[in-house]
Structures are given as C-alpha cells and as structure tokens.
C-alpha cells in the first residue's frame, strides 16, 4: 500500500513540470471574456481586441494616428470631396476559403453603419454605397463630410470589420455566430469554452501588407501558430501565471500587484501609456437635483480628482494624472479652458451655490457598485465629499449589472432611475470629438445622462465637415468650454494601467488597442 502511494506521488512529481510557454503558442489574459465573435453587436473592448485576430479592416490608423489602407489597395477621392472609390488588395481570402469581394465590404459597412455611433452619422449623410465590380466599392456622400476615412478607419468599438455578405446581412442586434473574417488568425470554434478559453490558429492564406507594422496599419506578420485567450478570473493567479511563464501577456496589472514584478526575470509590468483610461462621474440631467444647472455646478465644486485617484491607485502616483481636459491631456485636442470648474474643490462655495439654487435636500442616490474594485473605491470617496458640500446622500449597495441596467432608465429615482454613476472610457474613444459621448449634447437621443445642448450638436456638425486642423482645434476647445458649463459628467482622473508582458516577447505594439501580430518570442 505504502509503495503504491509513493509511486503515485513520484509519478505526479515527475509529470509536474508546468507547461511553460516555450511552444509556439501565445497565451493572453484580457480583462474580460470572449462571449461573442461579433464586434458589431457589442462595444465590449475585449471583443474588439479579440476581433482584430479574426477580422481585417479596409483602413486603419498608424502610429501617427493617420488613416492608412489595410485591406484596401488605395482610395481615390473626387475633386468635390463627395465620392470615395476604394479598391481592394489582390488575393484577400476569408477563413471559409471564399474570396473577399467588394460586395462583402459593402454589406459589412452597412451593418456597421447601423450599430456604430460614428457609422450612423456617416450613413445619415450618405447618398449611396455600392460595389461596382468584385474589387471596387464606391461611397458617395450627399454632402461634404471630412470624416469618411477616419470613420471607416477607426480602431475602437465598433470597428468596421469585413465579414462575408451572407453573415453581414444579419441585423446588428443579432450577433453573428460564425467567426469568418479575413484576418491573420482563424478561430478554432471547437475549442472555444465561453467563460474559459478562446483559441485561434494562424490563417495560412493571410497575405500581410509589405509595409512594416505601425499600430493598426502595416503588415500583420504572424509569428505564432496559435493564440489562446485564457479567462483567468483571479488577478493574483494571473500575475503568478505570468511570472512562471504560463501566460505571456495580461491586459492590466492592478497597482497593488506591481511590487510582485520587482526583480523578476520572466515578466515585466509595462506602463501602457496608450491604453489610458479616464474615469467619470456621469450626471443624469432628467432627475432632481441635477436637473438644475446651478446644482450641477455645485457638484463640480464639491469634487476634486486626487482623492479618487489615490483611492483607486494607492501610492502609485505615476499610474494616474489629474486632468480636466475633455479630450484627454497630452493629446491634439487637449485644453485647459474652463477646467477650473472641475479641478478646484471648494465645499463652502458649493454650499453657497446650493442655497442660491434653493436646494431642497432632494437626496442624491448613489448606486454604490462593489463588484468592480475601482468603482467601489470611487463611491467610497464620493459620499463624504458630497455630504461635506451640503448634499443629502442616499447610498444603495449594488453590482455593476444593476447599474448598467438602471442607467438606461429615464424614470425618477424612486421608479428605478438614477442620479449619478461612475464609468470609464478609453483614450482612443475620448480623444476624438466625433466619438466622445460627452460632447454630443444630444438630449434624450444621446448617451446616458441625456445632457442637452444645441450648441454642442452644432459644433460637432461643424467639426465633421472641416479637415483643417486649426479649425478643428478651435471647435474642440469650444466644445470643452460648453461641456464643462453643461456638466454631462465630472472627470475624476486619467489612469494609465500597467500591462504584464513576458520578457521574451519582442515586437509588441504599444497602442490604445492591443494587437498580437508582429510580436514574436525571442530568447
């Protein structure tokens, strides 16, 4: 009996050399899980990231944030700026073996145009979009609109991916079930376990462009036979797995786990400057007390960013930046204008303003989300700050799923509505006045909060037709001024997450969206 036990133990130990990532497989841990293969049916960033493996796009941004052809060979723009004639590259193939045709591209763009915010604006200004032959598609605008290429070259959700026409004809609210793209990796559907793992194999018929990779543009060279996106739910476990070489990359290492990387050879934590995120307190303009502009101003005066950032990032002061700019700090449209309103806390002034506005003590209901650590920390800081400035606060403990549902409600708080909630937006969505949801001013047709401003709507229209950078900058600056007066949200800071990267990986592209071509395993 004893000898059997020993034999089993010895056998286990002998076999127990962990599977080190020395094989030609790239193992990734993203922040979320792969639950769908359709990046048009959702704006979820994890789906966006994984979709870049499966699908390819007509145009994409390079590292200078300029639009470059990807599947397109090139584009000709008519002199009046209304007609775009796009030709496809030779030899493009879908994963089901069929050729990519202009018909597929037209159907895919149409579907994207029903779902994506910028896509919808583009299609509302469009006269026609059609395939004139197998390799040529022609987009004709009804009026001049300078955002056509930036729109179909956008690199964040929803990305205008190209899929076969038979799939692209499906309504965008009904997710496509078959992952058929023409991208560098092909999904292995049989090995997909939602909630656990998604597997991709290099697509042998993929023809990368000849230019070197530059962010989303250029040649997508695949150096791995296989990519696995592993959903490791526990972050501490994911860090351990990275440190022993079981995975190669993790999207975000929380600040409190950064010390684990000190003195480690196997992996490093690298600040992902381009993947910056900003956090906001979104304000509902339909419900009291924040239907009153003065009380919204008092809310701005009641808050400041540092305590929120400290609560979320602890002592890691290099992980965040105090920033009142609507389009992120250190970006083309960054500005200081009107930021005093959101950067300087003055509880006394807030109280005085509340008195002046005749604040009647209507409670601000906080739906305190506890299942997302950064949100949990932020709500804990928010409550005392509001109370100190004279607001009456009613706190309810809840989870993100509940808030994500309630925020869509335009009802009074008592009937399932809301006052404020925290959320975050990525750098790439916020720096662009066409995609930043807070400068839309679109009233009840807009994003949650329903801030209303005709001036903001007009500014965006003007922005969309000009290609002059100086004019764009002027319009963006004015947008910021109006936005901070309107208070669709209060910014609470800009956060730069650290990514975990195996030391033996080379050629990883620093970008707002993580890409997994070009990267290879060195020694």
């Amino acid at each position: 009996m004893k000898s059997i036990h020993l034999a089993i133990a010895a056998g286990l130990l002998a076999a127990a050399t962990p599977a080190l990532a020395q094989d030609n497989v790239l193992r990734l841990r993203m922040n979320g899980d792969i639950n769908t293969v359709d990046p048009i049916s959702t704006t979820n960033y994890t789906i966006r990231n994984s979709s870049y493996l499966i699908y390819d796009v007509l145009f994409a941004l390079d590292e200078n944030f300029e639009v470059q052809p990807q599947m397109a060979e090139g584009v000709e723009i008519s002199d009046d700026g209304l007609t775009y004639t796009i030709t496809l590259r030779d030899g493009l193939k879908f994963h089901d073996g069929s050729d990519v045709t202009a018909e597929d591209a037209v159907a895919s763009l149409k579907r994207w145009g029903k779902a994506d915010g910028l896509g919808k604006i583009m299609f509302s200004k469009l006269a026609s979009i059609e395939a004139t032959d197998d390799k040529t598609l022609v987009i004709t605008m009804a009026e001049p609109w300078a955002q056509v290429l930036p729109a179909i070259g956008k690199i964040s959700s929803n990305i205008p991916v190209i899929m076969p026409k038979r799939l692209a004809e499906q309504d965008p609210s009904d997710p496509v079930k078959e992952p058929i793209g023409s991208g560098p990796y092909k999904m292995v559907v049989d090995e997909w376990v939602p909630g656990s793992i998604a597997v991709y194999e290099a697509f042998e018929d993929y023809k990368p462009r000849s230019e070197p990779a530059s962010m989303a543009a250029g040649g997508k060279q695949t150096h791995f036979d296989r990519v696995e996106i592993i959903n490791i739910p526990d972050t501490a476990t994911a860090v351990d797995a990275l440190l022993v070489g079981e995975i190669d990359w993790m999207e975000e290492v929380p600040g409190d786990m950064l010390p684990l990387f000190e003195g480690q050879d196997e992996a490093q934590a690298v600040p992902a400057l381009q993947s910056g995120n900003s956090m906001q307190l979104v304000v509902n303009h339909l419900n009291p007390p924040f239907d009153n502009p003065k009380i919204r101003h008092a809310l701005q005066l009641a808050l400041e960013q540092e305590p929120f950032m400290q609560a979320i990032n602890g002592d890691n002061t290099d992980l965040y930046k105090i920033c009142g700019a609507v389009f992120f700090c250190d970006t083309p449209f960054a500005s200081d204008v009107n930021t005093d309103r959101v950067l300087k806390r003055d509880a006394e002034a807030a109280k005085a303003l509340l008195d002046e506005a005749g604040y009647d003590g209507t409670p601000v209901t906080l739906l305190h989300v506890t299942d997302i650590a950064s949100h949990d920390a932020a709500y804990s800081v928010l409550k005392p700050m509001l109370e100190e400035a004279g607001f009456v606060v009613e706190e309810q403990i809840t989870d993100w799923a509940t808030v994500a549902t309630r925020r869509a409600s335009k009802e009074p708080v008592a009937n399932g509505g809301w006052n404020v909630f925290f959320t975050g937006w990525g750098y790439i969505d916020q720096i662009n006045p066409m995609t930043n949801v807070y400068v839309a001013g679109a009233c009840e047709n807009g994003w949650f909060g329903w801030a209303c401003s005709q001036e903001l709507q007009d500014l965006r229209e003007k922005f969309a037709v000009t290609a002059d950078p100086a004019e764009q900058k002027k319009l963006a600056t004015r947008m910021q001024e109006v936005t901070h007066d309107l208070v669709p949200y209060v910014p609470v800071g800009q956060i730069f997450p650290s990514q975990g990267l195996a030391s033996n990986l080379q050629g990883y592209i620093d970008s707002p969206v993580p890409f997994f071509w070009n990267v290879s395993r060195g020694e």
């Binding site: 962990p18 979820n44 376990v193 939602p194 526990d234 351990d240 797995a241 989870d399 509940t402 309630r406």
Partner: protein, 313 residues
C-alpha cells in the same frame, strides 16, 4: 430494492418542479437586464429593445416559464443569453473538470480524514486526539482562498512542481489532468478532511464502547483489525452521509477554488451566469444541480445497505 429506487426517483419529480419554479422566479426578481449588458456601453435604447425581443425577454414571466419548461422536458435547456451557445453544451463543457476535481478531492479527503478520525477516537482525549482535532479546526477555519494562494506560492511559484492555474482535459492525458488538479484538490481536501475527521471521530467513539468491541478485545483480536473491519463498518452510515453531502457541495460550491486556480468548472459558470443575468444558464444549472443532488443522495442511501443489514430488508 428496484421498487425502492423507482419510488425514490418518482418522488424527485415534484421536487424538481418546485425548484424550477422557485429558481425561475428568483432569477427574474433580481434587478438587472441581460439585454443591456449584452448591448454594451454605447448602445442606444432601440438596439437594447431589439435584443430583448430576440431573447423573448419582452414576454410575460409565465409565458417565458412555459417556453422554457416545455423545451426543458425535451432536453433543450435553451441558449445562453450571454454567449449564444446552447446551455446543455455549456454545462457539458464544465462537467469533466468539476466532477474530476470533486472526485480527486473526495479521495484525498477520505485518505486523510478517515484514518485520522479513527485514530483520534481510539486515543480519545489523549494528546494525539487533541493534535488531530486542532488540525481539524484549523483546516476548517482557514479560508480556502488563503490556503490556495499559499499552495500556489510554495508549490507553483517557488518550487514549480505544479502549474499555477488551468485545467488540462482528460483527452490530453490523465497524468496532466491529475497534475493540473492536484493543488486545487489539496486546498479543498484540507477543508473537507477537517469536517470528515470530526464526524468519523464522533461516529467511531459511539461504537468503540459497544459490548461487541469489548468482546473482540477480550478474544484477543488486534486493535487495527477491530477498528478497520468491525468498528468502522458499523460507524459507516454517518461518515458516508457526510461524504455524500461533501461530494454534492463540491460539485456546486467550489467557486472560490475554481476561480483561484482557473478551473473552468460548473461553480464558475454559475456565478458568471448570475452576474450576467444569463437566465437560461442559471436555470439549466439549477436543474442540473438538483438532478445531481438527487442522484448522490440515492447512491448514499443505497450504500447504507453495505454497512447496515437492516436497510437491506
């Protein structure tokens, strides 16, 4: 005997029905709309409405229940709201890791706990008993995630004997599977061993003072033989009951361990489904749990016959 089994199975039907209605109601009472969660952050209300329609979430609750129940009877548990995959497929993918983890843990538990409990009873109130019961209280009190992180740190990060996380399917070779399940099984076994050692001690103590034991001692039989062949067999009923309850708990209730070690089991599927308001999956899993529980209880009841001849009649 067959009549007994059939009767037990039939008795389970109303239980299942009540559980199904109860769970269906409970899941739908919880606030949170799956359509909004699926649509993503910048979806407009119209998109959300379309998704709701597609998932039949716009129908009344009794109608939704009717649709679900009608399909469930034919073995179709619907498709996941979250991933669009059939619920039966999602559960089937998770059954292997969960059952193997439960089995491995129970084997480890029995190997550790039954001898310890028996020894503790035999040396009742001595230092060995105290030591074993002390270990048992500790095993029960230390949270399983703490033990898990400790095991990972020592055996995976420092010694590198076992992987930190992940599950290797049986199809890739049973040895790899065993290796990938060793640390999580040890973490769980420490908790269950504590429980079962205590129950074993109590059960053995009850029997050890019986007259037949004294007779066996008087006849000069060895202690080991008395304990193993006679005492344990007589004390078996409560021990097997607790092991059965443990097995059932292991199949559904090891979310923390599954999360820490990244084992894609049913427990995690359950919690993920609840967080995402994935109604069909939650309902499917509860149905699956109920069936499993009934099956385990049946096996436990039948195994009493091994220990207690009175049950056989």
């Amino acid at each position: 005997m067959i009549l007994y089994v059939v009767g037990r199975l039939l008795a389970a039907v109303p239980t299942l029905l009540i559980v199904a209605i109860f769970i269906f109601g409970l899941v739908h009472i919880a606030p949170g709309d799956p359509a909004i969660l699926i649509a993503g952050d910048n979806a407009n209300p119209e998109q959300v409405d379309k998704i709701r329609e597609r998932l039949h979430l716009d129908r009344s609750l009794p109608v939704q229940f009717g649709i679900w129940f009608g399909n469930a009877v034919t073995g179709d548990l619907g498709t996941s709201v979250y991933s669009g995959r059939p619920v039966t497929e999602l559960i089937a993918q998770r059954v292997e890791p969960t059952f193997l983890l439960a089995l491995y843990t129970i084997v480890l538990t029995v190997i550790i706990a039954v001898p310890l409990g028996t020894i503790a009873a035999w040396k009742a109130n001595g230092w060995l008993d105290r030591a074993i019961m002390g270990f048992s209280v500790a095993g029960f009190s230390v949270p399983v995630f703490a033990t898990s992180y400790l095991l990972i740190y020592v055996f995976a990060v420092e010694l590198r004997w076992f992987p930190v996380q992940g599950y290797k399917a049986l199809s890739k070779g049973p040895v790899e599977t065993l290796v990938s399940l060793t640390l999580p099984s040890i973490a769980l076994a420490l908790v269950f061993a504590a429980l079962i050692a205590r129950v074993t001690r109590a059960a053995v103590l009850d029997v050890i003072h019986e007259n037949f034991v004294r007779t066996l001692k008087a006849k000069g039989m060895g202690t080991r033989r008395i304990l193993v062949t006679h005492v344990l067999k007589t004390a078996g009923v409560p021990i097997v009951t607790v092991i059965g309850i443990g097995l059932a708990a292991l199949i559904g209730g090891v979310v923390v361990t599954e999360s820490v070690f990244n084992i894609p089991g049913i427990g995690r599927l359950t919690v993920d489904a609840i967080v995402r308001r994935d109604y069909p999956v939650v309902q499917g899993i509860i149905l699956f749990f109920s069936l499993t529980l009934i099956a385990v209880n049946l096996v436990v009841d039948l195994s009493y016959a091994l220990f207690d001849p009175r049950v056989r009649g």
